[in-house]
């Protein structure tokens, strides 16, 4: 038998959470290492799932509840794995835990944030609004605990600590490195949206009313920067005429050479957000090919096609400009079926940016090998198992399925030797 009964799970997004509950409910000890101050990852940022159009928080709450009720699960937030040593069954995981400056006495009363004089860009909302330097990541955050962003604090300020009645704030907290013995490690570090500003002809960051699909999720979400009202960034105008630019960076050798799997369905879904919110609105999706992988997803496409105010236009947008007067967005495209190159004007344009594995930019775990696109090589090493979007772009359902199957491999690693 292996020396350890512990599975370390790196990443507390939907894959990591699923792996954690599956392993813990099979009576293994589980440690989740999450780099954000909250669990839930990308799913926490979504407004609705395709194709059912139900809120993701529902599923997340169930997973959180299963974790809370299971004493075998230990969670480190603001933590990053620095190194893994050893072999399958006997791994030594070095983890740097960064200070939250808020301890578990926090009751999320908001007094610290109200007292705090400094602001920071709200990264959870992709910088579309600001929070105080003492903040709760979002209204349903788990753990329900505030965080202090020390980089955004005013010098020598301790207004938050003074305002806290529960002794929950400790501005002297230091980062620490801990070592965890584990029999298996599951890598579930997920993905980042591709940096749209790298696609220079699509003008993200230059034209104000061009946003990304993940920003659109936040913009549509009831707990987002506009409380779910879909309005454009430049002037807060209601978005009645919206365009979606598919393959913004994906299937492109100059950016992400692979298909990102989710973007077509995400844009169809987001077109429905707009159509539902404003019945007099129009949405147009510019695509190369519409891909709706899965059992039910083609019905979702059919649903969009049945809406006369959702137009699907074959032709990739390859130029975006701004009307300086109105701040409307002008897209340049060839409508392939009519064979004409045209310019069309929209209130707002959403770039369907793709998924880049987090291991594209950060490869601190040296025990596994990576592909040129930054994905983890499958089956690279016994005892360390990548899941979900670290292997290839997939949706939430397939990430969860993959996490479950990785748990079986992890349990085998605990018992094999």
């Amino acid at each position: 038998m292996a020396e350890s009964n512990t599975v370390v799970i790196i990443g507390g997004g939907f894959s990591g959470l699923t792996a954690a509950v599956e392993a813990a409910e099979a009576e293994k000890d589980v440690v989740i290492i999450e780099k954000n101050p909250y669990l839930g990852g990308r799913v926490a940022q979504l407004n609705k799932y395709f194709w059912k159009l139900c809120p993701p928080n529902c599923g997340l709450e169930i997973q959180f509840k299963r974790i809370k009720n299971n004493a075998r699960v230990k969670i480190y937030t603001l933590a990053e794995v620095q190194d893994i040593k050893g072999e399958e069954g006997n791994l030594d995981v070095a983890v740097k835990v960064n200070p939250r400056y808020v301890n578990e006495k926090c009751v999320a009363c908001d007094a610290c944030a109200q007292a705090c004089p400094s602001y920071r860009d709200n990264t959870f909302n992709f910088g579309m609004d600001k929070t105080k330097a003492a903040y709760l990541p979002f209204n349903q955050a788990f753990p329900m605990q505030y965080v202090i962003d020390r980089n955004s604090c005013a010098p020598n300020c301790k207004a938050c600590a003074d305002a806290c009645k529960y002794n929950a704030i400790d501005l002297g907290m230091k980062s620490e490195t801990i070592n965890i013995k584990a029999g298996a490690v599951i890598m579930a570090m997920g993905w980042n949206p591709y940096d749209a500003s790298k696609i220079d002809n699509l003008s993200f960051g230059k034209v104000q009313n061009v946003i990304t699909n993940m920003m659109m999720e936040r913009l549509s979400a009831p707990n987002g920067p506009t409380q779910g009202k879909i309005v454009r960034p430049s002037d807060g105008k209601e978005v009645k005429n919206i365009a979606f630019v598919q393959c913004a960076g994906s299937r492109d050798e100059n950016h992400l050479p692979f298909c990102s799997y989710i973007c077509c369905l995400a844009s169809l879904k987001q077109a429905m957000y707009v159509r539902e919110q404003y019945p007099d609105s129009k949405a147009r999706i510019f695509y190369i090919d519409l891909r709706t992988p899965g059992l039910y997803e083609h019905r979702f496409l059919k649903k969009a096609m049945d809406d006369p105010d959702i137009t699907l236009t074959k032709g990739k947008v390859a130029g975006i400009n701004e009307d300086p007067e109105t701040k409307d967005v002008i897209v340049e495209v060839e409508d392939i079926f009519s064979g004409s190159k045209t310019e069309m004007k929209f209130d707002m344009v959403v770039l369907a940016t793709g998924m880049e594995p987090t291991t594209k930019t950060s490869q601190t775990i040296k025990n596994v090998s990576y592909t040129s696109d930054g994905f983890v090589d499958i089956g690279a090493k016994k005892g360390i198992y990548p899941v979900g979007t670290l292997k290839n772009p997939v949706d939430v359902v397939r990430s969860a399925q993959d996490a479950t199957s990785a748990v079986i491999k992890g349990i085998q690693s605990l018992r094999r030797i």
Binding site: N201, C247, R251, D252, E253, N254, H255, I288, D289, G315, K316, V317, A318, G319, E332, V333, E334, I336, G339, S340, K341, T342
Partner: protein
């Protein structure tokens, strides 16, 4: 939708791939290329449709289309192509095949294929050797000198009949081939397309556009190309004037070369040669610099560039070696110069040199039919 039967010409697909369009089949028809292209008309834009015509072997639709020549290979499409299909290079390959298709002799295939290179060079080499060998001029000391003892190339290779008859015949041959080719091309382009307006106006506006090199300004990735091509273009104009002028000197005034360096003809000739050297060096430099984004170019392109380079280098060296009176090097250099000039002129209808004629024709046609305004 009306049913359309396509009979793919698979040989044509293979030829495009072999002629520099090697990444043709990577295209997935996203139309990024047509959008980033600044020189295409908006209606039925290129090069996306050309990419699928080429993939499907629709040779007739491609080569009889003015659009392949309206493309100036800016390579913006190639730089932004998400698949690395290099539409700019594919259209370059299609243009080569169009030149071959419309030129009426088997020479066209030979100029486009490196395995015939030696034969193509052997023709002028043997021709010029046949003039000098019987006279024993392989021995440099046997070549007569000028009155002042200097090198006089016309004593090595007489202007009449050797030079003028040879190049006169080459030029006539090229002109005939061009006329036949253009005639067939124009007929193909015109089938089913209604011409409008005055052809003279279309020709006039096309010429003024070419003289100003306006279209090159629309390129982004290869925007440095305008000055390079402009220099080469006007250098050739300068050299054409120089040649005509020399004919006037010789046959009108019986004034023989070599002309003194201060003679206006010599000044124009030398200035044109230097412009050509600088221009073609820029062309080469730009191509190497942009190779990663724009593609590395085909044999067809590089043969043309190399021949121009060889002409200008051997031309300038011939003059310098003559002035320095280094006979052992001067005569062979001049001989090489004649061979390269012959190569350029006699094979013009089959080489990339033909782009000049076919592109100008396509531009006139596009205006004449309101494809371009």
């Amino acid at each position: 939708m009306a049913e359309q039967v396509i009979s793919p010409d698979l040989k044509f697909v293979e030829d495009v791939i072999a002629s520099g369009g090697g990444d043709l089949k990577k295209c997935y028809q996203c139309a990024t290329c047509t959008v980033v292209c600044n020189v295409t008309p908006d209606n039925k834009p290129f090069p996306r449709k050309e990419m699928i015509y080429a993939q499907w072997g629709m040779k007739d639709k491609l080569i009889s289309n003015p659009d392949i020549w309206l493309c100036h290979q800016c390579s913006d499409c190639t730089a932004y192509c998400p698949r690395g299909a290099k539409p700019g290079e594919v259209l370059g390959a299609v243009r080569k095949l169009a030149i071959q298709h419309y030129s009426p002799t088997p020479l066209s295939k030979m100029v486009g294929d490196p395995k015939y290179l030696l034969i193509l060079f052997a023709i002028p080499v043997l021709l010029f050797l046949s003039y000098i060998v019987p006279k024993g001029y392989l021995d440099v000391s046997a070549i007569p000198r000028g009155e002042d003892g200097g090198i006089v190339y016309s004593k090595f290779m007489p202007v009449f009949p050797q030079i003028d008859v040879t190049f006169g015949a080459a030029a006539f041959f090229a002109a005939v081939c061009f006329v036949l080719g253009i005639k067939r091309y124009w007929t193909d382009m015109s089938s089913g397309v209604g011409a409008q307006g005055n052809i003279a106006d279309s020709i006039k506006t096309t010429i003024s556009e070419i003289l100003a090199h306006k279209r090159f300004e629309k390129c982004n990735v290869t925007k440095d190309r305008k000055i390079a091509h402009l220099l080469v273009f006007y250098a050739f104009v300068g050299l054409a004037i120089t040649t005509t002028w020399a004919i006037v000197y010789l046959y009108g005034f019986h004034y023989d070369s070599p002309y003194p360096l201060y003679d206006p003809l010599k000044l124009l000739g030398n200035a044109s040669a230097l412009a050509l050297l600088y221009g073609i060096t820029l062309v080469t430099g730009n191509r190497l610099k942009n190779a990663e984004k724009a593609g590395k170019g085909s044999y067809f392109d590089w043969l043309f560039i190399t021949v121009i380079y060889a002409i200008v280098v051997t031309g300038i060296l011939s003059e310098l070696l003559r002035l320095a009176n280094i006979a052992t090097l001067a005569y062979p250099t001049y001989f090489a110069h004649l061979v390269f000039v012959f190569f350029l002129f006699a094979y013009a209808p089959f080489s990339k040199m033909a782009h000049m004629v076919y592109r100008a024709t396509a531009m006139v046609f596009a205006r004449h039919t309101n494809r371009e305004s």
